[in-house]
């Protein structure tokens, strides 16, 4: 039932259009009409959330609830309704049974996380979006170096946008005394693709792991089973984002990145945080991060492109001789903001979010001064052109 709604609203036209194209390819005319469907905001998120309840009850991991209000609140909890984190009924539902009481430390921490989420969204994501859109929308006019810059801007846009939203959702929930699951864990500091996928959109990755990958057999069985399961989970994950071949290829590309690690049993080689307890990574870790980040950037091109042809021509231009020319667009302020952002994230990478440790600053005056400066930085550097969150469309 849940998947039926999702299938109709999100994928009906995709399948109809592709059937039509396939029939035309083989010379048969197949008359169909696409429907003018308005996609309900956040449908992929709350469908998966309610599915987790149904499956957990079926598997007897959770008792079915008789409390209609608690269940309705679980399904429609406003901070995470439209873009996650995708909560499990086993984690969130019991919190609605508890009596609410205000916790000062939790509220301060929540507000601090909202502040950082706003910085990520308004300062990083929305400023990067301006250039990413300009470059992707007119990619034929730019050299390879500029296109690489455009892909980099989109890389930071999507991270700032989505993890910023998650921070705001988690922080808002904490203000009300609710704990939501972590959704991002500094993914761009990952040393391999396995680590990246343990740190990016954690609530979705673990959902697929628990409700799809493991039931399929996971990484047990022979090589063929491993390859099949890996491709299924990554392609379904891509398809979850949208009914477009670009998302499917993005998923498949990530499967290709991940498979060598799985087949050589190195997919769980990096379970800790990079350079734990140190200021800087060693040379090996640096190159591992650089390579993983580079592969991620290339994959994002498929995620952002209008269609597969666009993505391929975009990448082809990056790998052409025009890569060695000076970029036509070089927005110094945005590049400066990205560098500052990466440094803050790096030094805060062992916390739940980059500025978590601020609550530990003993001097109250200094702490409030830092809050004040971050808030003023959001106002001063922010882009207030009403950019919607990217993941609202999923």
């Amino acid at each position: 039932m849940n998947l039926g709604f999702l299938g109709f609203f999100k994928y009906f036209n995709f399948f109809i259009d592709n059937f039509t194209t396939a029939f035309s390819f083989f010379g048969s005319e197949f008359q169909t009409n696409s429907l003018d469907i308005v996609l309900p905001v956040g449908i992929s998120f709350y469908t998966f959330q309610t599915l987790s309840y149904t499956i957990d009850v079926y598997k007897r991991k959770l008792k079915p609830t008789n409390d209609f209000i608690a269940f309705s609140a679980f399904v429609s909890f406003f901070p995470q309704l439209v873009a996650g984190p995708i909560e499990r009924a086993t984690h969130l539902l019991p919190q609605f049974y508890e009596k609410r009481k205000f916790e000062y430390n939790k509220a301060v921490d929540g507000l601090q996380q909202i502040l950082w989420g706003l910085f990520k969204k308004i300062v990083i994501a929305d400023n990067c979006a301006e250039y990413a859109n300009q470059i992707f929308n007119n990619s034929g006019d730019y050299s390879g170096s500029t296109l690489l810059l455009g892909a980099l801007f989109f890389t930071f846009q999507i991270y700032g946008d989505f993890s910023g939203y998650s921070d705001i959702a988690i922080g808002t929930s904490r203000l009300f005394g609710f704990d939501l699951m972590r959704n991002f864990n500094f993914p761009y500091f990952s040393r391999d693709m396995g680590e990246f996928w343990r740190r990016w959109h954690i609530s979705l990755s673990t959902w697929f792991r628990d409700y799809l990958y493991i039931p399929l057999g996971g990484s047990r069985g022979g090589t063929w089973m491993k390859v099949r399961n890996t491709f299924i989970i990554f392609i379904v994950s891509g398809f979850w984002h949208g009914a477009n071949w670009t998302f499917i290829i993005w998923g498949a590309l990530n499967a290709i990145y991940f498979l060598p690690l799985l087949l050589t049993k190195n997919n769980r080689a990096n379970l800790d945080s990079v350079a734990q307890g140190k200021y800087l990574p060693n040379v090996k870790e640096f190159f591992q991060m650089f390579l993983t980040f580079g592969l991620t950037v290339l994959a994002w091109v498929f995620f952002r492109a209008d269609n597969v042809t666009h993505a391929i021509t975009y990448l082809a231009e990056i790998f052409s001789s025009s890569f060695f020319t000076e970029p036509e667009i070089l927005p110094n302020t945005v590049l400066f903001l990205i560098i500052v952002f990466v440094l803050i994230e790096w030094f805060g990478r062992e916390g739940q979010y980059a500025i978590e440790k601020l609550t530990q600053v003993k001097s109250k005056g200094l702490r409030y001064l830092l809050y004040y400066f971050i808030a003023m930085a959001v106002i001063f550097f922010g882009n207030f052109n009403e950019n919607e969150f990217i993941y609202f469309q999923f």
Partner: protein, 347 residues
Amino acid sequence: MKKFLRRTIFLAFMILITLASVNYVGDSAKLFNHKYEKQMANILKSGSYVTNISNFDERLFRKDFIESCDVSPNIVVIGSSRTLLINQSHFTIGALMNNSVSGASIEDLIAIYQLGKVNRLHPSKIILGIDPWTFNINNGMTRWQSIDSYYYQFTGIKNASSVTIEKYKQLISFSYFQSSIDEMQKKMKGNDMPLASNNRFNETRTILNDGSLVYGNSYRESSKETVNSRVELSLNKKLYGLEDFDLISESIWANFDMLLKDMQNEGIEVELFLSPYHPKVYRVMEKDYSLVIDLEKRLMEYSKAKSIKVTGSFNPKLVGLTQDEFYDAMHCNEIGIESILTNVVTK
């Protein structure tokens, strides 16, 4: 809970105080300090041109400019930025005063005309710049509210101004903060006030003492590629002022008719001026904004019936302009304006 609220409110208050102080002192659009526009008007009155100008309230400047005028001009131009380049050199007989403002709506045209009436300007001719968005009820133009009392005075509508609230809202506007910070830096460097000049051509925009505009050097000397990229950029989105232009507003038409009747009753010769669009833009208009073409036809029929002269056309071909005579998507350059006025492309 109380401790949390107290501290959060304190922090929010400090942020708001900073925001409001910077917005008030920096005041990038000169909303809280009217001296700027007055100084511009005084420079023009002294016979000089005025340059080094930015982010002023054009409507308030026009008010000060008209109020500072001792001798009534013979010809007055009222329109948008698309008529701002019309200047004295285009007319051999009679003194000209250009009172155009950027993004002029019908309310602007009426308010500026009324300002002239209140200040006893008795021109023998008014050139009224008409833009396609003039008749778009959804054009989103609100800048006329700076001089809204004159609009209400003319139309007899009871003053329903919300401009004061809008103005004070800017005190806590984030976007206003960003521009006001820049303005504060200029103030600190002492580079924020308008300057008198005897040169028509300067680094920044210059307003001549007849009220017309000369663009800054870099804009005037833009390469073909730059102009082309400006045109492409404007074609990437909805054309200026033409968002949701789905009908020619009859209420605006009634106001337009009332304005023209009043001018004619005052014994003023009225001439409509239609400034052309860049050829690329006009081609898009023919395809996607056919109402603009209908509007021009309706204006022609109306003018013919009322014996009103029309100069120019939204169609650049009809006035003999090519893409070389444009600064951007909707502003033709000095040569273009001169060509329209001197060749007298009238209908």
